[in-house]
Every structure is written in C-alpha cells, then in structure tokens.
C-alpha cells in the first residue's frame, strides 16, 4: 500500500510544481528561438541580467549581460524572440513598473516594412522615463518654486508690495468669479473644446513623431533629397522663364504672339465641343448565359451605345445551337458497272457558332424600336421598358426561312439585384414544324453609371 501512497504524494508534488510553473510563466516571453542584439545605455542602474524586455507591455525577450563600455555607458546584450522584427527604426527605452520604480526595457518596434536588423546589431536607445527622471525633474521644479517663493516673500516685505499683492489677489478673485460664471452653463461646450484640443494635441504628437509611419515629420524627413532636386529644377526653370519672356520656342511664341494665341483658342473650343459630345455618349452592356429547352446553351453579349438619349446602336455576339444556319446541298452521281447513273443528294445544315447583332434603334418614351442584324440575319425588334420595376420585355422577328417562316422571339428580362438579371425567352413561337422552345438565362447588365464607377475603380 505504501508505494501507492508514496506515488500519490509524488504526483501531488509534481502537479504542484507544474501548476506553479504555469502560473509563473504566463506573460513570459516563453519558449522559442531568440536573436541577440546590443544597445548602449548611459545609465543602466535598475537594470539587471535576466530583466524582461517588453514590446507593448508583453514580455518578448530578456537581458543576457550588462558590461561597462568605457565612457559610453553600459553595453547591454539582450535577446528577443525570433518572431519580433527589429529594424533600424526600432528604439529601446528604460521604463518603470509602478511607483516602486522596478525597471525594464521597452522596445518600440518602429517601421515594420524596413529591413530586419541582423543579429548582434545595435538598437538605438533613448532616455528613459522612469521615476528617476521624474524625481530629477521634480527636483528642478522644486528649486524654481523655491526661488519664486523667495521672491514673493521679499516682495511682501514692504507696504507697497503687500498692497500690490492685495490688488493682484482681488483681480484674481474677480477673474475666477467671471470664469466661474462663464463656465457655469457652458460645461458641455468647454468639455467639447477640451476634447477637441486633446484630439488636436494627439494628432500633433503623432504628426511630430518622426518614427511614426505616415506622420508629417516622417514624411518631412524624406523631403531632403526632394528639396535638393527642387533646387536644381528651380535653376532650370529660371532659364526657361527667361527664354519665354524673350518669346523663344513654341510656348514663348504662344505667350507673346496674339495670332498664335487666337488659333490655339479656336482649336481648344473645337476640342471642347468634341469632348462634350463624347462625354454625353452613354453605354449599356449586357452579358448573359443560359440554356434552351431544345438546343443547349445560349450565351449573349450586347453593347448598346446611346449617342443621344433617343438614339442607340446595338452591337452584340451570340452563341447558341439554333437559329440561323447555312444550308448546302451536294449531289453525288454514281453508276454501277457503266450502268445508268443514280443521283444522291446530301443536304448539310451548318449552325454558325458565332452570330452577330448590329442594330440601329430609337427610343420613344418607354418603347425601343430597332432593326438590323439579329443573330447574323435581318430582323426587327420592339422593346418595352419598365425601369421602376427593373423589367424590360420585347419581341423580335428574324431569321426568315422559306419553309419555316421567321423566328419569332418573345422575351422578358427582370432585374434581380443590382446588375444581376434573369431572362426568359420563347423561341420560334410561330414555327410550323413544332420547334418552339424556351431559353432561360442569367446575366449581368451594366448601365452607363455602373461602367463609370467600374472604370473609376480600375483607374484607382
């Protein structure tokens, strides 16, 4: 029995060690590969070997060694987790934990797009903001306060000084009274002003921090080389302006010669008119694909160009397995053993893979009338638009054949959502050979505004 109980004790002891170890190692930089770097600090007091190094308050490394580096200060060798990328912009600062002033090193990573620092490289260190600094500053402030107090004391020694003090106090009293009256009832406005000032100061702080990406100062720091180039450009510009003043070159003539200026002005007007006209042209693109109940797939592309609101041209390509076809008949004559010839006729029908639309149309209110090539055959079409409902319905007649008659198509297109539409069409509705069928398609239709928006996105 004893070995079992001893085993339980051992288990309890191991569990205790594991639990405490886990408690201790949360927030630690943990296991992993480390990279060694160095830095030099003017004052490393409060920093010890194995002190933590934090990034954004999270433990990310530790100090390996601290050595004296001659007159420069203390050479700190530290290691950071591999996953932390230090760059030339990274900075190291001593910070304090709480009031008791326990110190640690804090790293600001800087611009992560820059190249990674090589191992054993130096990281720039900045002065700390620990409590030593604070107390040092406080000491200086206190010194000044002491001097001020001394001055005040001396000034209060005589009657004149005291009277002046009384006056000052009275004025301050009046001023605070006015301030109080002002602030009473205006708290909201004052709070708003304070918030705005805070936002402005934060923004200012950001903009003036040259290590912050996209800040004004960081951008300004890039201006140096640009300024040099600008300087050279200004020199060249001076020369050019001198020539212009003398009427040299085309531009010079333009500036000095009135006749040339008139001609240019006329040309610009014509161009302007042309551009305006082009700007007024609208387009509409439709692309759909579907299936026919008899013949398989039906894919269409149509481009409607509106040079004016009432006129349009339609260009398009269609692929399907019905509709216009070309027929050819070939006769074959054969004779057997020099006997009478027999004739064998073979009729071949080719369905074209690609068919083209080219129509001219006119819009009259909600109706659209068009005529021209419909699926590579002549035809006419009539459409009716219900834009509020997103519906267009139409009828086409084309592909007249001697024995089959024309193909009468009735179609309805419904806008489903945004640019998505569905179309249902009945084909060959008046066919005598019973080849009526239906086509159901889904497609995208882009209006002129849609196209403008798309082009704008792509241009960006």
């Amino acid at each position: 029995m004893n070995p079992l109980k001893v085993g339980l004790l051992t288990l309890a002891a191991f569990a205790s060690i594991v639990v405490m170890s886990l408690k201790i190692t949360t927030n630690k930089s943990g296991f992993g590969e480390y990279t060694t770097y160095k830095t030099v600090l003017k004052d490393a007091s409060g920093i010890f070997e194995k002190s933590s190094i934090k990034v954004a308050g999270i433990n990310a490394g530790r100090i390996k060694s601290i050595e004296l580096n001659g007159a420069d200060g203390a050479l700190i060798t530290f290691e950071m987790l591999e996953g932390i990328k230090l760059t030339n912009n990274s900075r190291l600062k001593i910070k304090s934990v709480g009031f008791l002033g326990d110190k640690y090193l804090d790293i600001i990573l800087g611009d992560q797009n820059a190249d990674r620092l090589k191992p054993e490289s130096f990281v720039m260190a900045e002065g700390g903001a620990g409590f030593e600094e604070l107390t040092k500053d406080a000491g200086e402030v206190l010194k000044e306060v002491k001097e001020i107090a001394k001055t005040i004391k001396e000034s209060l020694r005589d009657e004149q000084g005291r009277n002046m003090m009384k006056e000052i106090i009275a004025n301050i009293h009046e001023m605070t009274g006015s301030l109080k009256r002002l602030s009473t009832g205006n708290e909201d406005k004052i709070n708003q002003i304070v918030d705005e000032v805070k936002a402005i100061s934060e923004q200012l702080a950001f903009e003036t921090d040259r290590y912050q990406k996209d800040s004004l100062m960081s951008d300004l720091s890039k201006i140096g080389p640009i300024l040099d180039k600008a300087d050279a450009a200004v020199g060249d510009l001076k020369i050019i302006i001198a020539d212009l003043k003398d009427g040299k070159g085309t531009v010079g003539k333009l500036l000095r010669d009135d006749a040339v200026v008139d001609q240019v002005s006329q040309t610009l007007s014509s161009v302007n008119r042309l551009v305006n006209r082009i700007n007024n042209i609208e387009a509409d693109i439709g692309l759909s694909t579907g299936a026919n109940t008899r013949s398989g797939t039906d894919t269409r592309f149509d481009l409607d160009i509106y040079p004016a609101p009432e006129r349009f041209f339609r260009l398009g390509i269609v692929t399907n397995e019905f509709g216009p076809q070309s027929e050819s008949e070939s006769d074959t004559y054969t004779s057997v053993n020099g006997g009478p010839e027999s004739k064998k006729s073979v009729r071949t029908v080719d369905y074209s893979d690609f068919k083209f639309n080219f129509q001219i149309g006119r819009r009259i209110q909600r109706f659209g009338l068009r005529a021209g090539l419909i699926e590579s055959t002549g035809g006419v079409g009539l459409d009716y638009f219900l834009p509020d409902w997103g519906i267009r319905t139409g009828i086409e007649m084309f592909d007249y054949q001697k024995d089959a008659g024309p193909n009468l198509r009735l179609m309805t297109e419904v806008k489903l959502w945004n640019v998505l539409f569905a179309r249902v069409a009945g084909e060959d509705l008046i066919s005598k050979d019973g080849s009526q069928s239906a086509t159901i398609s889904l497609g995208l239709r882009f209006s002129d505004q849609d196209l403008a928006a798309l082009i704008g996105i792509f241009a960006r």
């Binding site: 004893n2 070995p3 109980k5 001893v6 339980l8 004790l9 051992t10 309890a12 002891a13 191991f14 569990a15 205790s16 060690i17 639990v19 405490m20 170890s21 408690k23 201790i24 190692t25 949360t26 927030n27 630690k28 194995k50 933590s52 433990n59 934990v97 709480g98 009031f99 008791l100 326990d102």
Partner: protein, 263 residues
Amino acid sequence: MKSQVEKKIENLGTGVLDMLNGLGTFTNYTSRTIFWTFKPPYRFKLLFDQIYFIGNKSIFIIFLTSSFTGAVFAFQIYVGMKVINADSFIGPITMIAMSKELAPVLSGLVVAGRCGAAMAAQIGTMKVTEQIDALEVMGINSYQYLAVPRIVGATIALPMLSAIFLLIGYGGAWLIGVKVIQIDEIVFSSKISDFMDLGMVAEGIIKATVFGYLIGIIGTYHGFAVQGGAEGVGKGTNMSVVWGMITVLVVDFFLTSFLTKIL
C-alpha cells in the same frame, strides 16, 4: 587546587575538544552513510516506508502551516503595501518569499521537529534495547538498514512537501488577496508572473532537498549516538530537533547566497 579561572579555561578547552570530536564523529558517520547508500542490497520497501512516514504523514501539518502562512503573509504584506498604494504587489511578494524561503524552510522545520525527532527516538530506542546489536550480529549493517532509508527518504520527501507547501500557500495568499482584500484576480496572477521566474521555484526545491538530507543525517546520527536508557533517548531526540532546526536556518543563509548567484 585549580582556581576558578583555570577550571573555566579547562572547561572551555574540553568543550572545544568535545565539539571537534563530535564534528569528527559526525563527519565519519556521514561518510559511512554515503558509502552504504550506494551499496546493495537496496531496500526500496524500507525507503518507501520512510517516504510515506516523512511525506504522506506530514501532509496535514504541511497543509495547515502553508495555508495559514500564505494567508497571514499576504495580509501582512497588504498592511504594509497599502500605505504606498501598492497592494497589487501582494501576490508576487508573497509568492517570491514562499518559493525561495518560506516553503523550504518551514517545511524543513516541520520535518525536523516531527520526523527528525522520530528518527532519533526510533534508532535511539533500538540502540538502548540492543536491537541494533541484534542487527549487527545477524550481519546486517545497521547504518544501511536504519539510517540510509531515513536519510534518502527525507531527501526525497522534503522537496515534495515543499512543492505542495508552495501551492497551498499560494492558495492561502490568493484567498486573502482576491477574496478578502478584493484585489483583482487577473492583477494578482499577472503580477506574479511579471516578477517571478522558474529559478525561484527551483531554488526552493534545491534548498528543500538539501534540508531533507541534513535532517535525515542529523536525526539518525543522534539516534545512533544515544547512550544510557530512556534519558539518553530523550536527550538524543531533543538534540536531533534542535540541531536539525539550527542547521536548516544556518544552511539556508549560505544556500541563499550561493543559489542567488547561480540561478
């Protein structure tokens, strides 16, 4: 006729010689036990019996000691830290003190008092009733049979007790810190991991191991050194406890300075 001064000097000299003699005997005893530890037969049953006696049987008192120590220490730290508004440091300060000092030392003192005394009493009684002679006559080395399992058992059991002490002490500190003083639980735990590292826990475990060994050696030594009857057993038991506790406290000092450098 010797004068008072001469007698005093003589007594002092005798005392020093006795102490040196005792130290020599102790060293000789220690070396013999180390020798017999590694000589077969290895008596694992006796070893488990001793670990059970020193470890399992001490759990209750360790539980009491550690839970109250953790709670009281946390409370006292709170009283001090409140003055400077740093009561969130209760967790780390308590746990650092527990892991590095309180767990090994208090466990050592408990085991020295409880088990060191028992070892000296058991072996001393066997000595005065000739049971040790009976073992020797049978050809069994009494150090190997009696001392080694106790020494090794204490060396193994004390670090385990220290680890359990640490965990229960943490529980006591947590109870006071989080539930009574109402420190935020996350703050309590996160500050612990900010200021502690595994080296501190290791330091406590190493100390406990050394203390366990010393308590075993001292307890068994005083058992074997018993002379006379019941009175001798009583004296031996008393010496075992006193020297065990003193040794734990003194060695703690030297171990702390040594381990702080290497861990």
